[in-house]
Symmetry: C2
Subunit: 418 residues, 2 copies
């Protein structure tokens, strides 16, 4: 039985399957007889010495977490600055790790979290404390470097493709006398991965989504409106998928465009879709509906991808192996061996190749006209939404998601005030 | 084999299960060896003599329609006025029915459609043409009179309850350092049935949704904001479900409030949730996210309720029976025999008891504080979302929804111009 404690924390926006990673970490650590603490609300909990004793979670709890969305220990949005700038925080963090004999720290998150994990991994030599820090990938944005894809993305992508196919059937039925244009807003502030996944909902030029707006392309309103009009003339209706991150030629986010204000002069929390819908309705006089699923798309465990779920669990197990092997400053990543049949395996990559990079949609994934996806994109995206992994349902018709009771670890240090 | 043809048309907003009703109508009629035509785009198709020969649909097509959302023949939003005002249309309609030997007309829709069906049912004596007209219930709004519930509602309700439970887990995980308030906008312009269904996502006062805003209650902004603030103080976060139809004391829709305009002075296609989110963020300085699923909630066949699906099929079969029995001017309705165990049967009600009425949420379904649902509401709503009815999925990870090729019936009359 290895000496020491493993600390696991969740970071950034949660996903439909990050709890499956958490469960896999705890299951793997138990097999190795390693004690696991959870940090309450991500790195914040580590700083505050707000820790959770996972030993009180039963095997049934862990099993239920595999099909429960959200983040069981709580997550946070807090990016540590450099060692120089945030020295006080790092010293506090080390103090907490020391106090609880934490030798392994697993940080489960996206870009910012990889950066934090990288910084923490360097504490070991800086302060001479024997810590192994391992990043664990997670993000619905799919924008982490090195890894072929990110756990969380496949399920959000499946939600997106299924939802767009469904609402397209609705619009098709209504178009003759009612809604002719439908605009779906997909998450992705900087990279159009989820917008691209919507492309899986249909095939040819006349199948929805008819137009996809990527943040990787400059949004040209006149061209967009002309294409909407042409699509409605040709097909009878038009389904648009807009990435929340689309920007005009001046680099302004369309979601902020127009500086929407309410009667009180307050800036409205807009969205790209609501703006586009107003423009279509005004300029083209076509009845338009729009949807913004927001958090629904990243928490939709009910329509999770089996591929995604399996990868979420695999990175969790691999991270425990890395930690116990003393592989400091690394992250388990997903390597694709083949598209069809889809085959993948886990490899280990250094965090400094991952932190602070952002994987945009490759140019050859976007159709030459800029409004759709290519065959290469389909080959990449297709396997990631394959397979179903329905949660169990209770007799009341709802999935049996759990929020297990968490046991706080007794504090050993003074309270920390940020 | 009965003499004549049965015409089936879909009307109003489509649902996740209206095609299951269509399939049941065709299957039942085939068993009775009755020819079925479909009207393309609802009553419009009947007026335009734009008819579909359903004989070319294979048994496999009908089976696939049971799990396909949208409206296979197309729907429409067109309300016929009185016989006096729209006499020309009624005469045209009769002309088309006569030309194709239509003796039975099934109109599948909500309130407005029940009204149209009622008017058409009176044509028989008015023009001496032997027609039996039967309404078939459908609406996600659940606001039809007489019937205990409406096919389409249960699936939208299940989508709502599941989605709210999922995003609540997301917000709970993020609240400490990020989003504290989440607002979900549910359809229901006049009646809060779907907003109420969101209440099934949680139980006690501290479980999401913490606040539900019903169109049956006057929206009091100050009171609402105070409750959001109190909830965040007590629970750490607050999940709000707002019906799109909430109105202030002056009767103005909150969704239209503020008269949102973009930089060009165009009125924005707002929504209640985006308005409320801006108010919360401004007045309470709490980070707020919001979602507006719009058509996603009514086309989400992937999370359909089995109860709803069974009822959608049952009303279709019963409507064929009514028609062939010569029961003119009626609608098959759902009668609840017991809540637990849930038992129901189909009865037949006259359309004049259904048309132009609107079933609001009963007063005893809304908690006395106006922001939640009661045990009576749970008893009513619970069974309607019970049971799953997943569509089959292909290897590509998408449900196998179909858009069967439709065969037009040869025209016999001159073209009709409205």
């Amino acid at each position: 039985m290895p000496q020491g404690t493993l600390l696991y924390a969740q970071s950034g926006g949660v996903t439909a399957v990050i709890n499956a990673t958490a469960a896999a970490v705890m299951q793997a650590a138990r097999t190795r007889r390693v004690r696991v603490l959870g940090a309450h609300d991500g790195i914040l909990g580590a700083l505050r010495e707000d820790l959770i004793d996972t030993a009180t979670l039963t095997p049934a709890d862990l099993k239920a977490l595999i099909h429960t969305p959200g983040g069981v220990f709580g997550s946070c949005r807090l990016k540590l600055k450099s060692l120089e700038e945030d020295r006080e925080k790092y010293e506090r963090l080390l103090g907490v790790l020391r106090a609880h004999d934490v030798r392994w720290f697993l940080y489960n998150g996206g870009n910012d979290s990889a950066d934090t994990a990288l910084k923490v991994s360097r504490l070991a030599e800086e302060f001479g404390y024997p810590l192994t820090c391992v990043g664990v990938p997670k993000t619905i944005d799919n924008d982490l470097a090195v890894t072929d894809c990110c756990p969380g993305f496949g399920s959000a992508a499946k939600y997106t493709a299924v939802s767009v196919r469904e609402c397209a059937l609705d619009v098709m039925a209504m178009a003759e006398s009612s809604t002719k244009v439908f605009i779906y807003e997909a998450m992705g502030r900087h990279a159009g991965w989820l917008a691209a996944a919507a492309g899986l909902a249909g095939g040819g030029r006349n199948e929805a989504p008819h137009l996809i707006l990527f943040p990787e392309r400059v949004f040209d309103e006149a061209d967009f409106l002309a294409r909407v009009e042409a699509t409605v003339r040709r097909v009878g209706h038009c389904v648009v998928v807009a990435s929340e991150g689309i920007r005009d030629a001046q680099g302004r986010f369309v979601a902020d465009a127009g500086g929407l204000k309410d009667a009180f002069g307050h800036v409205q929390l807009g969205g790209a879709a609501s703006y586009l819908a107003a423009r279509v309705q005004h300029a083209l006089k076509l009845k338009t509906h729009w949807a913004m699923p927001d958090y629904l798309q990243r928490s939709a465990r009910h329509i999770a991808s089996r591929t995604d779920l399996e990868q979420a669990q695999a990175v969790g197990r691999a991270a425990v192996d890395c930690a116990l092997n003393g592989q400091n400053g690394v992250m388990p990543v997903i390597v694709r061996d083949s598209d069809a049949p889809y085959r993948w395996h886990i490899d280990i990559a250094p965090l400094d190749r991952i932190a602070n990079r952002e994987k945009k949609l490759p140019g050859n994934f976007i159709r030459s006209d800029g409004y759709g996806i290519t065959a290469a994109a389909r080959r990449y995206l297709g396997p990631l939404i394959a397979g179903e992994a329905f949660p169990p349902y209770a007799a009341d018709g709802l999935p049996t998601y759990v929020t297990p009771k968490l046991s706080a670890v007794a504090r050993k240090l003074d309270r920390w005030e940020n």
